[in-house]
Amino acid sequence: MNNYSVMINRQRKWMLYLLAISVIGWGFTDYQVIFQSLIIGIVAGFFNLFLLQKKIDIMGEKAANNQTAKSFGTLSRFAAAALVVVIILRYPEQFHIIAAVVGLMTPYLVIMIDFIFSSKKTTSTKRGE
């Protein structure tokens, strides 16, 4: 298993942890509107993350075999974000827009924090260790 597979599995694991925390908050606290907005945002963000990881893997495989990849999935990711915003603007009593946008941006935070920790771990070891 190469380091890309390890990285994407780690990111998916953290996204599922955050989704589980949001579901627990939705079930056991009084801030149900905030947490259900977070859940819908994290689900869409997780879909975006999953699609990006899959498309990049496909593109790397095609490039290694001297083939061409057709699309990169950018439009699908934009459409997922637009769908979340449309749902939230359609039902403003049930959802909170800021919480949903925070949930939508969660995968990027996970990617950045994961990259910082993994690069620190790889650069702190000396050459040859």
């Binding site: 190469n2 380091n3 890309y4 597979s5 990285m7 994407i8 975006n48 993350l49 990006l52 990881q53 990049i56 893997d57 593109m59 790397g60 490039a63 290694a64 001297n66 990169f72 950018t74 990711r77 934009f78 974000a81 637009a82 979340v84 915003v85 449309v86 603007l89 827009i97 946008v101 939508l104 941006m105 995968p107 990027y108 990617i111 950045m112 990259f115």
Partner: protein, 69 residues
């Protein structure tokens, strides 16, 4: 009507920037992978982080565009 034009300009300019940025990242990565296929994992990791950082901005632009529309 004005809100729709503002949303179209916001999404269009953000998608333009993302397209240029993604194109630069992906072209260099594909070139590197095709030259040295054994470095595929490391190059894919770098490309993934770059593409994710580039695409965060147009997604926020889509959100803001739908809010002002």
């Amino acid at each position: 009507m004005t809100g729709a034009v503002a949303a179209a300009i916001a999404v269009g300019l953000a998608a333009l920037g993302a397209g240029v940025g993604n194109g630069l990242i992906v072209s260099r990565t594909v070139e590197g992978i095709s030259r040295q296929p054994e470095l595929r994992g490391a190059l894919q990791t770098t490309m993934f982080i770059g593409v994710a950082l580039v695409e965060a901005v147009p997604i926020i632009a889509v959100v803001i565009a739908f809010m002002v529309m």
